[in-house]
Symmetry: C2
Amino acid sequence: MNNELPVSGIQVIDRAVALLDALAREPGPASLKVLSAETGLHPSTAFRILAALSEHDLVGRDGANLYRLGPHLLRLAGRVSVALDLREAARPVMEWLRDQVGESVNLTVREGDQVVYVERAIPNRMMRVEQVIGSRAPLHVTAVGKLMLGEAGKEAIQDYARRCGLPAYTANTRGTERSLLLDIDASMARGYALDDEEAELGVGCIGVLVRDTGGAAVAGLSVSAPMERRRPEWVPLVEEAGRRISERLGYKSSQG
Amino acid sequence: MNNELPVSGIQVIDRAVALLDALAREPGPASLKVLSAETGLHPSTAFRILAALSEHDLVGRDGANLYRLGPHLLRLAGRVSVALDLREAARPVMEWLRDQVGESVNLTVREGDQVVYVERAIPNRMMRVEQVIGSRAPLHVTAVGKLMLGEAGKEAIQDYARRCGLPAYTANTRGTERSLLLDIDASMARGYALDDEEAELGVGCIGVLVRDTGGAAVAGLSVSAPMERRRPEWVPLVEEAGRRISERLGYKSSQG
DNA sequence: ATAATGCGTTTCATAATGCGGAATAATGTA
DNA sequence: TACATTATTCCGCATTATGAAACGCATTAT
């Protein structure tokens, strides 16, 4: 009863994904009634698809009449390739960094023209910045996204700017190719990037790149905090954490 | 070209899951050729389904011709309800326990007649016991599974025994209702359970239950180690870890 | 250079597949 | 107990996914 779903060419798959997404949106288990209403599917259709998904453990059942997401999703998610070694390597370092700064730490990878959040460590505070694992953001409004663009070279940045049009998320978003290029240049030169309320008002980030054995930038690490709590002295800590994760991935950072 | 797939009543979903599983089996990205061969699907069919899954980010693409599991799986897995708060609460304690004993620590929940591994902490050693997140094992061959049976009561154990027939995984598996009942009785009485090479030769476990606010056993926590390295003095550590996780879930353990 | 091979992708006629209305069963409620 | 609501099964129909074949595009072999 809300958003229009992407159409993939296979109806059943669109519908199955719609049901999985509806289940993900629910706080707890959900009934067939709710799910068919939520997705706009005929109850009998929703039932049949849910039964099929149950058969594969993509959904599970509580009691007789309640559906929830199933454990097979955990197995599949554990094999999301790009994030496998990376997440394992990053997690303890991310927790260290979170404890150092007391703010949310995120790990992202590039996926086309966006970054995807693949791992996080959140502090135990009332007010904190919280990203959903698997969610996305455009490259030009995030600290690590800007570094990833910088890594790809000036032409790639221009391509990106034309392709996406640099939509503004706040008044601070780098909305012109020129301002974006300047920002990226400065960020690449000093080795870390900032996001000064460019994605969301009140939120500031400090980000660095994470590299693997071959020196390729495979991920981004960032601290996200309410703007008024962000401190410049975190920069070396974020850099240190990025270096540690890169080392765990086999990157030799010893270049003068 | 291998296992027979469960048939769910919806062909496309069976096939889509087969493709996802095939991708999960691959160490890295896989080509259409490989995937269609692996699943026995016509290349054109596999292509169409993979394209549909891509549209929903359930699969992603590397370069032009390589498929891999997609980031939307991370988002969905993050919402697998039973494991949400639980995993978050358990993770730091699991890491503490892993560092104490230097062996693999697993968190499991009951799912029908099996336990499902939902979280783990593995030590940095050459030889270690390693469970795949999302994989399953029958209740009667695992330490925590036996506790979960005990929690359900004698009748439930007998039902289970008749339903599943207590298949033997090793010579040590409790293969009779009598031996299983005795073991479970003893385990419940002392508050922890052992698995003495009952699931796999050479592997021993120590397990305890994790409880939530209401006192319900929502999960199991266990240490799995090569049999010759397992130490009885770990028992209080495992109990301590179980208690800490339960406390983080709101359970008041102050009884007796 | 040129042909040949081996992929990935698109097209399209066909029938098998999933669809949804309606009937039935199960569950919850007054 | 009767009623209302929800879950599940059934089944004829048309939509849907199917897979053979053709096409495009590299890369490799000749």
